[in-house]
Symmetry: C2
Subunit: 361 residues, 2 copies
């Protein structure tokens, strides 16, 4: 299991250490240098024990030269902005940080992309997620309903009391605390299935918490599920469409993270997640209406089998992807409606929850 996130004070301490190293070197008339992990798939490995795509130690360094002077200055100024945010007790979005840089004279960011790259560098350098530095994502999190009380400052938010609506996860979740007696967290891909489960108060019957990702989960949704699961030692079950996108983009990203963001996977992965369905075997067993695989699906399956360290590690996943390649078919999680509208609740989820052998790791 991953180590605990740093608190804002620790982050500030590290910023000061790095800054004082730079300062000392300059005072000694030596070229200052900052070092950060290389951010790419070639710099990660996967093991069950650790549970996420882990950095294997390749580093890049940025020495102050005529060529690097601008990005060097930007790196330091962004660290300073993080310090300022902690002092005034505020946060800012990535995009706001870009606009704040307009006051940095010649060091200002010329484009969003430039700003976001330097922010990723600082994040990797400090080995924190940028929310801990006070920089919050643009997009908000998913929706939550069920047997959970979220404690956010003075507010106690009871997620059983939202009618057909739900609790909308904020952009940053580091400060939240949880109270729950639920048995598990059920994470679903589509908002429509979430709405069905919520309308029928599935979370009451099953004594659980339901979370809608609405496609590939945002940072704050991933972090929310992770913090909840760690804090309350709860299992997490994932229910996506039965297609390569659901398996490799949504589930794999949620569980172990992704390659180009390897430096933050330890905060955003959910190693305790298990894949409930829709598995290729479910498509056959439940006689679901299917769609043919598209070219992009076939390519994604091939890539996954050949290159994905997670798939290579788990033979069960490799077999499942090969099975789908042969079937040449995919099925959506709403396809159970062909049997009857609430078949997914009354039959599918009940049977699956009882049979861990039908899950994928």
């Amino acid at each position: 299991m991953a180590k605990k996130a740093k608190d804002r004070k620790q982050v500030l301490g590290e910023i000061k250490n790095i800054a004082s190293d730079v300062y000392k070197k300059i005072m000694k008339k030596k070229a200052p240098e900052i070092t950060m992990p290389l951010r790419s798939l070639s710099n990660v490995k996967y093991s069950d024990k650790v549970g996420f795509f882990e950095l294997i130690g390749k580093m890049k360094s940025r020495t102050l030269t005529a060529n690097t002077i601008k990005s060097f200055a930007q790196t330091l100024l962004l660290m300073n902005e993080s310090k300022r945010l902690a002092r005034i007790g505020d946060t800012e979005s990535k995009r706001e940080a870009y606009y704040v840089s307009k006051n940095w004279g010649d060091a200002r960011f010329d484009s969003d992309d430039e700003a976001f790259t330097v922010m990723d560098d600082v994040e990797a350098m400090l080995q924190v997620n940028r929310e801990q530095m006070g920089f919050i994502p643009e997009e908000k999190g998913g929706a939550v309903a069920g047997k959970l009380v979220v404690i956010d400052g003075k507010d106690k938010i009871d997620c059983t009391k939202f009618g057909s609506g739900a609790y909308s996860i904020p952009s940053s979740v580091e400060h939240l605390e949880f109270k729950t007696n639920a048995k598990f967290v059920l994470v679903v891909e589509t908002s429509a299935l979430f709405q069905r489960l919520n309308n029928h108060k599935y979370w009451d019957k099953a004594n659980c918490i339901i979370v809608a990702m609405g496609g590939v989960p945002t940072r704050s949704t991933r972090r929310f599920i992770r913090r909840l699961a760690d804090d309350k030692k709860m299992p997490v079950y994932v229910f996506t469409d039965g297609d390569p996108y659901g398996y490799l983009n949504i589930y794999r990203t949620l569980k172990v993270g992704s390659g180009n963001a390897a430096h933050i996977n330890e905060f955003f992965c959910v190693p305790q997640a298990k894949f409930l369905g829709v598995t290729p075997a479910d498509i056959e067993h439940y006689k679901l209406p299917t769609h043919p695989l598209k070219d992009v699906d076939i390519k994604r399956l091939k890539d996954g089998i050949k290159n994905d360290p997670f798939v290579k590690h788990h033979k069960d996943w490799e077999k499942a992807l090969q099975k789908m390649s042969k079937m040449k078919k995919r099925a959506e999680q709403q396809a159970f409606a062909a049997h009857s509208l609430n078949y997914v609740i009354d039959v599918y989820l009940q049977e699956k929850l009882k049979n861990p052998k039908t899950w994928l790791p």
Copy 2:
């Protein structure tokens, strides 16, 4: 102002009327026929008084022939499914309806698109929004915070009690009731700006309700704002990026609807909406950092000035779009951060709310 939505009982009554007409014709050995409004921009007009893109009466009809037998049967079966949903007190998503059709034998939908087109036809024919027939959208609504209590069945949802989180609008909002003393609804484009306003409890200082659209608002977000504004006679102020997409895709759609969904605009438009900013004049007045217009922006401006009945009706909008064409620049709503992080709250929103002359209609 648009007429009131029909309740589910009225909708059922109309379904029975249409079905009984079809039945009688068949009994008389005549070819049955169903009639519905043509759904296209060529069949709408705009006037201030009505407040939304209104159908001007062009109709198409579907007579039962060898060629139309499948879509004719699908239309009747979908009406029957709506009746069944009312009886069992459930709803289903568009996609679930597609899967339910797998039990219709030869009349089953072969693709999602086929299903969605017939559903739009039935919606137009009955002059209701499909939520009133029990068919709910795939996507959920936006986020809400502030001085509002939403009443959903037994649950009273107090939107001041969610910490940094928010109330997530459900897929269907027809059954909701509202309690509020707020002075206005502030609708913002980006989740990031919503998060800033919510973190600083802007809604408390300004005595208002804030809603995040997260881009072009979904059906349920539009309907939620409309029902709230009608019910509580509240003004609605809209705050988007200062660009053609914010003006013509987001704001115009929210306020008056769109061409290809003209048959439902009367339920989904928000005629009481006013455009607060970011206007082209704001970009200059507040000296905002800008981006150059992209080709797609320039094309959208030209199209809007030339073809959009809403822009043609409002000279102020025409002038604003022409001004932006000349400036060749756009600005994001987060650009105020260049002045200081909370400038948008402390200066911009305060000044704008006091000066209706700086708004656009």
